[in-house]
Symmetry: C2
Subunit: 124 residues, 2 copies
């Protein structure tokens, strides 16, 4: 989609558009693909109830069963299940079946990765 915004960034024509606004901008060190992956991670955390669930698990020190989560989150059981599934799909939680109950735990490595995504000069 070559937008009609013709900006003389690359054209070094001496007399054309001044475009003196632009300083030499560092080349992006992130591909579109990486951006999509990273955005997916953040999207998993873009819901208040999922943030609540994650906070619940961060402060625990081990797997927590769904019934406990249901108590603390003001949502219907199917909706909680939906959110848990998303968090697992994003790699932020792990699921473990114990008899009738499902236990979820935090993937602390994935969580730690979050804080490093936007370190300058970092290759994700």
């Amino acid at each position: 989609m070559t937008t009609t915004t013709k900006i003389g960034t690359e054209l070094a024509s001496p007399d054309t558009s001044p475009a003196a606004c632009c300083s030499p901008l560092a080349k992006p060190d992130m591909e579109s693909e990486d951006a999509a992956v990273t955005a997916g991670l953040f999207k998993a955390l873009s819901d208040p109830n999922r943030v609540l669930i994650l906070n619940l698990l961060v402060n625990g020190d081990g797997p927590v069963c769904v019934c406990d989560i249901n108590v603390h989150v003001p949502l219907s059981q199917p909706t909680v299940s939906h959110h848990l599934k998303k968090l697992v799909a994003a790699g932020l939680l792990t699921r473990e079946q114990r008899g009738v109950w499902a236990f979820f735990d935090i993937d602390r490595q994935a969580l730690a990765h979050l804080g490093e995504v936007f370190r300058p000069g970092r290759r994700s």
Copy 2:
């Protein structure tokens, strides 16, 4: 532009079954309101193109003008403007007008805050 997902609606059904599965779960240290704010931050980063823009600015060492961003992001000019507005609203970017051009820069403090949201036992 209220909260995208209402968090404090009516409780669906008190799922307070005895359920001998549950170990004593640590009480949540995050209120619904905090969760909404945090989720808002992450939501601003839940779009691949916004991640791309932020990455672009992280690796620069100062304000960058829109025309530079337009070159690096495969979107129309209005759409880029839309994304920049969202990032500013989230507090992740600052905007500065320099004559005809608009320059955006990263709020590194807000960015650093991201990595600390889910530290165990951390209050916001």
